[in-house]
Symmetry: C2
Amino acid sequence: MKLDVAFSPRELTASEVADRTVIVIDVLRATTTICAALDRGARAVVPAVDTEDATRLEEVLGPADVVLAGERNSVRIPGFKLGNSPSEMTSDVVQGKTLVMTTTNGTQALLGTAGARDVFVAAAVNLSVAGAAARAALEEHGDLLILCAGRDHGFGFDDAFIAGCLAERALGGRRRRKGLNDAALVAVDLVIRYRDRIERALALSRAGRELTARGFRNDVTAAAQVDAHPVLPVFRDKRITLAQHGARS
Amino acid sequence: MKLDVAFSPRELTASEVADRTVIVIDVLRATTTICAALDRGARAVVPAVDTEDATRLEEVLGPADVVLAGERNSVRIPGFKLGNSPSEMTSDVVQGKTLVMTTTNGTQALLGTAGARDVFVAAAVNLSVAGAAARAALEEHGDLLILCAGRDHGFGFDDAFIAGCLAERALGGRRRRKGLNDAALVAVDLVIRYRDRIERALALSRAGRELTARGFRNDVTAAAQVDAHPVLPVFRDKRITLAQHGARS
């Protein structure tokens, strides 16, 4: 059994992603927002590298069906309809639409998973569903990689904490250390320390503090709502969609 | 006050190192071994990028005064007199010599500090002395960066734990969170969790387990001996020497 956590995409080479099940976390806010959007009826979310890539994808996909979403340094990109706030993902805006999305850390992490077998998207808002997918991957393949988007290529407390929550569920509550890499050990320790104080842990992180300072404290609260959006987003063929019931994913 | 921990050199850009006091940790084993060598009378330790760089430096410095030291994947480099084991650093071998040293992670981290104001070397074996230097830097400049060598560009539990010990000493035992980056918060949490079980924490890390599996368990024990080598190695002008008493460093 091999359960790896990577605290940032920089820790990984392409060969360390190849043919693995990867679960990507950017809890503040990209993966929380993706879960909210798909739960509210968006058809798909397409991650874009940057603003130029996003507008190009909008042209290719046809502007009628596309909504542009994204931020840089927490703030909505000028000209984009949506920022990166889960509260913006209301049914009347996203229902039936394809969101083209670019964010500082989260979409970069997703785009770094090329070559993986399966890529799922996780946050606190879909913890139980994502945890079940994590556990299934461990049971079926004996292997799982939880990839934190992190912060500016470094460590992010918020993502590390949710990685621990996910690792714990993947292990089915067993307190085992064998097969965990060093980052997974620490992530699980974080959960033991903060346990159910998820909002506290997220608010404590630099991302949480910066969001609060910039007027997005509600997003931190929303991101801490466990299972508020019980969906399993799957990233495949350059787009994120809901996992199909009954389909092998 | 700004106290940052970086879990691996990859998290840093040159601008994040510039003009700062940096303390480098590779407790298993490079920085432990460097402390041992200088404590046993080595004149200097010169980090080398790789085997070729090391043999070139040996030629430049003059083979009579130089001892080559280094490992790849824990094992001594063929043709080198020393590996990377603190127990090899006996007075009869290192006294008055310049060690040219290349290791998998530690020397790379040291070489990544170009542009820093001051660079110190830390491990458990010089924790009190390094902790005093860390505290002095925080008091004088209000800023400190603790840089973990990590493991293959990723997170290493062993270095993160010692980073926490050092951060705690830098803070003078105060339980404050303001000014700490996310990695520093987690490092301090690790110390609260493992406290005085330093050998246990080191043995638990992947580096510790691999050393044990390769017959270097004694090195893990040696690396856990707090203040066994109470020296302050300073990296300046491409070489590591002891800080001069009375000199400003």
